[in-house]
């Protein structure tokens, strides 16, 4: 359980750093963070996947929600019409967060599986 939360916190922290240093990193930098967390903290691949998924899912939900609030939902509403997600800002936030979460989860699980061999 501690390892689960440690992974969650580490992935979240690295993901947040990737967000802060967006100018210097590609959009998928958070996945590298998740991979590193997977390497660093020994646990089951499934647990690593869910911890990292949850970390990035929550982080991205928070970040996009915050941006969306400041923007009064203007762009998310338009993009959610084009993509198409029925014009729902929340749907767009959830899809964004889920894509980030899955990517992070896979990266963390890969890291965990590699760990024993390293």
């Amino acid at each position: 359980m501690i390892k689960f939360f440690a992974t969650l916190l580490l992935v979240g922290l690295l993901g947040w750093l990737a967000y802060l240093f967006a100018d210097l990193t590609p959009w998928w930098a958070f996945a590298v963070g998740a991979f590193i967390a997977g390497l660093a903290i020994p646990q089951k691949a499934f647990a690593a996947f869910f911890a990292a998924f949850l970390a990035v899912f929550l982080l991205w939900t928070f970040l996009t929600w915050q941006i969306d609030e400041a923007n009064n939902g203007l762009l998310s509403g338009k993009m959610a019409t084009i993509l198409p997600l029925g014009g729902s800002s929340w749907a767009l936030i959830m899809v964004s967060a889920a894509i980030g979460g899955i990517t992070a989860g896979l990266a963390a699980a890969t890291g965990t599986l590699l760990r024993k061999k390293v």
Partner: protein, 820 residues
């Protein structure tokens, strides 16, 4: 085992990231687009965004302060022109980068790089990229840039502007790219003077492309010249020309003389149809492109000072074509709208004068059939001898495909636009070269730069004479109570009907003989009647010695002049009311005729109901007007019924469609008009039959439909990428007006910038455009003015006198400093 699992999972992870980073067909790269750090979320501008900024550049000569007001209009305070244009370039890029680049990509035939060879079923390569390249857009822009080098002032301006754009681009990270780049998955490239030239050529194209030569030729050969004259008459009887009837034209150049062979070879009166058969669907300029401008002199205004009004009708798009700006230097203080992509103010005013433009609609693009010796196209016939072709190579890069190399034969006329290699629509295997004044290296930018600093009538006149293409009606007003209008461009001196049809390219006597001297261009200065106006109608009647060509508007000019003649004691509020006026003078002309000849006894109940609505209509195209909807549909049906049976060719070669006014003008003087009879029936149809039949068709068309005019015509301001981006567009706007009406808001076209300038000591000005200053769809400033524009309201323009005033009221400040 674990290692294998890790390997597989690792590959899946990387594959997923790669997939999310890649544009899959029409789908944008999903991961990159949805990422909070790099994707669309970065374009979601906070509603309380602070636009203040401090910037440095080695390219600046002095400090520049830009004050942004609450509508995001920049007020540039610079110490010299160079720095002012630098700041303008920066601001255009900051707020409108994507559109500037996209439009210049389109103009230079580079859309395949972004979109790929095809978009749906449409070949981007054939319809867009090869089209613009073979029309000579890049060739023309290159010649303009070359010519600019001879004018140091212009060269410095364009270099400064370019440096300003590039300062912004160089400071961007991919996360900062406008959202359209992210959706289409490409990146901005450095700006160049050529791109500005391309943008200006694109405007020339938009306002002066005229491929009617092909359709007219097909129709003339089908009907014969005498009937053709009835379908496309040179002048309408009701015409109220820009320069009033009765004007005596004393030109220094005498009228152009047509070649001796013109009757037999060109007009085919002798039955020789040497040039015939173009199975080519031409790119038709919208008939709704147009504009109004007028100036009332001090004698007609309440203040005793002139008022200048202008509303150019262009394609209504988001981001808007226009960007509002004030430029203040120690030498001048100018305010108005400019084009993102080019320096200077295009329509505006300064502390002494104001100017405005409408399109002249004259034909400055002609086609010549070229006879090559053989299929190598290395030699072509010219005055009985073989002349060597010069070749121009255009390399078109295509996304995910090999380059396409287009070799364009260059002739004495210009580029050969159509030949066997570019025959997607052309099935006759002939070759046609294009002669277009936009190829002649104009100095259009210079005209505007000089207008920005003009102090009086002479400065204005000198400024506009730099302007070569497209033909424009430049109206003028000054604080010293002068008003004027000049139709300005480099116009070829044509003989009657020259260039209406495709001309024989092997005979030099069909060439444009000479340019009309600037002094001979049609104009008015301080006229007796106290006003000047233009609305795309013919500038003069046929007593002007040169042939004008082109398709011209008729009714807007009539109603504008009627109002202006009647009015006195005019205020800016009166002008606002007039600019947004929905009165339909064409319907006023047509209704008595329609009502006189309709056979009421033949109508059913629904028909009678609709006719009552039409009869009681107040002739205004207001939002809820049913009468305007009925009239529009009825007149359209009548036109189809009268014309189509006669003009349609058995071989279905395109013949175009007559202008709306032609039929009405014809019926007003001849109720037995030769085209009335429907050839497909054995009966002889009369005017009563055609009017009644077309009304019955109208009743069927409108059955069950909402008759409210605004809903019926569906005016919208569409994103430049068009239909699929409805969410970035503003559709179904509740606005009245339409074709032939001063408030010329049609489905896709309309008043793109309404401006009113009152030349009082302290300039009083109002303006509005259907867009917003920020091109970012994620900004609240994106479509900020659309609702006000729709309602016919205006923004009062804040003309800042000095920096002390600016400092107090402006919301944000962008400060530029030269690097020491």
């Amino acid at each position: 085992m674990r290692f294998l699992a890790a390997g597989i999972l690792g590959i899946i992870t990387i594959a997923l990231i790669y997939a999310l980073d890649t544009k899959l067909g029409p789908l944008p790269p999903a991961g990159a687009l949805l990422s909070p750090s790099h994707g669309l979320w970065k374009n979601a501008e906070p509603a309380d965004k602070d636009f203040s900024l401090d910037l440095k550049s080695a390219k600046l000569k002095d400090e520049v302060s830009v004050y942004l007001d609450e509508r995001l209009v920049p007020h540039i305070f610079a110490q010299n022109d160079h720095d002012a244009y630098f700041a303008q370039g920066y601001l255009h890029a900051r707020f409108r980068l994507w559109q500037m680049e996209f439009q210049t990509h389109a103009a230079s035939g580079r859309l395949c790089e972004i979109i790929g060879e095809k978009s749906g079923d449409v070949s981007v390569l054939e319809k867009r990229d090869r089209y613009f390249r073979r029309l000579g857009m890049v060739y023309a822009a290159e010649r303009s840039v070359e010519n600019m080098k001879k004018y140091p002032q212009q060269l410095e301006a364009i270099d400064a502007y370019t440096a300003g754009v590039n300062l912004y681009i160089s400071q961007m990270n991919p996360a900062d790219f406008p959202i359209e780049y992210k959706m289409l998955d490409y990146a901005p490239e450095p700006w160049t003077p050529l791109k500005t030239a391309l943008f200006l050529k694109y405007m020339s194209y938009d306002l002066s492309h005229d491929f009617d030569d092909f359709e007219y030729t097909n129709l003339k050969n089908h009907l014969g010249m005498d009937l053709f004259e009835k379908v496309f008459p040179i002048m309408a009887d009701s015409l109220d020309p820009i320069s009033p009837r009765g004007t005596v034209y004393q030109t220094s150049l005498s009228a152009a003389i047509a070649p001796a062979s013109v009757d037999s070879l060109y007009l085919n009166r002798g039955g020789d149809t040497t040039i015939d058969g173009f199975a080519f669907k031409v790119e038709k300029r919208s008939t709704d492109i147009g504009s109004n401008n007028w100036v009332v002199g001090g004698a007609k205004t309440a203040s005793g000072r002139p008022i200048l009004c202008n509303d150019p009708h262009l394609s209504l798009n988001l981001p808007s074509l226009w960007f509002e700006t004030q430029i203040h230097t120690p030498e001048y203080n100018t305010y108005g709208v400019g084009f993102p992509g080019a320096p200077a103010i295009i329509i505006g005013f300064n502390d002494s004068i104001a100017w405005g433009v409408t399109n002249a609609m004259r034909d400055v693009m002609d086609f010549y059939e070229v006879r090559f010796k053989d299929s190598t196209m290395n030699e072509y016939l010219y005055n009985g001898a073989w002349v060597k072709t010069e070749w121009r190579t255009e390399i078109i890069r295509i996304k995910n495909k090999a380059d396409y190399v287009d070799k364009i034969p260059m002739t004495i006329w210009g580029p050969v636009m159509y030949d066997a290699t570019y025959a997607s629509d052309l099935k006759d295997n002939k070759a046609y070269a294009v002669r277009w004044t936009a190829h002649d290296a104009g100095l259009e930018m210079n005209a505007f730069m000089q207008l920005n600093r003009a102090d009086n009538y002479n400065d204005y006149l000198q400024a506009i004479r730099n302007f070569q293409c497209p033909g424009q009606n430049f109206v003028f007003a000054s604080k010293s109570n002068e008003i004027a209008w000049w139709q300005q461009a480099s116009f070829p001196a044509k003989w009657r009907r020259q260039g209406d049809f495709v001309m024989p390219g092997w005979d030099s006597s069909y060439a444009w003989q000479t340019q009309i001297p600037n002094d001979d261009n049609i104009h008015m200065v301080n006229p007796e009647r106290g006003f000047v106006s233009s609305a795309n109608q013919l500038p003069a009647d046929t007593t002007y010695p040169f042939y004008l060509g082109g398709e011209h508007d008729l009714y807007r000019g009539i109603i504008i002049n009627r109002y202006l003649r009647q009015m006195s004691g005019i205020t800016p509020a009166d002008m606002q009311k007039m600019q947004t006026d929905n009165y339909n003078v064409m319907a006023e002309t047509a209704r008595p005729l329609l009502l006189k000849y309709i056979q009421r006894g033949r109508l059913d109940v629904k028909g009678k109901e609709l006719l009552v609505k039409f009869e009681s209509w107040d002739l205004r195209a207001d939002i809820h007007s049913a009468g305007q909807t009925i009239f529009t549909e009825w007149y359209k049906e009548l036109g189809k019924m009268v014309w189509l049976d006669d003009i349609t060719r058995a071989d279905s070669l395109p013949v175009g469609f007559p202008q709306a006014a032609t039929l009405l003008e014809a019926l007003l003087k001849d109720t037995a008009f030769v085209f009335l009879d429907d050839k497909h029936t054995s009966d002889k149809e009369t005017i009563e039959d055609m009017i009644t039949l077309s009304f019955e068709q109208t009743v069927r068309n409108l059955d069950g439909k909402q008759l409210g005019w605004a809903a019926f015509k569906a005016t919208g301001v569409r994103h430049l990428l068009g239909g699929s981006l409805a969410a970035f567009s503003r559709l179904q706007l509740p606005i009245g007006g339409g074709s032939n009406i001063i408030n010329a808001a049609t489905g896709n076209w309309g008043p793109s910038w309404r401006v009113i300038v009152h030349m009082t000591d302290e300039t009083e000005a109002y303006g509005i455009y259907p867009g917003g200053q920020n091109g970012n769809p994620g900004s609240k400033y994106y479509d900020q003015f659309v609702d006000k524009w729709t309602n016919g309201e205006y923004n009062k323009l804040w003309i800042i006198k000095n920096e002390a005033e600016a400092g107090g009221k402006a919301k944000w400040k962008i400060h530029f400093k030269p690097t020491a």
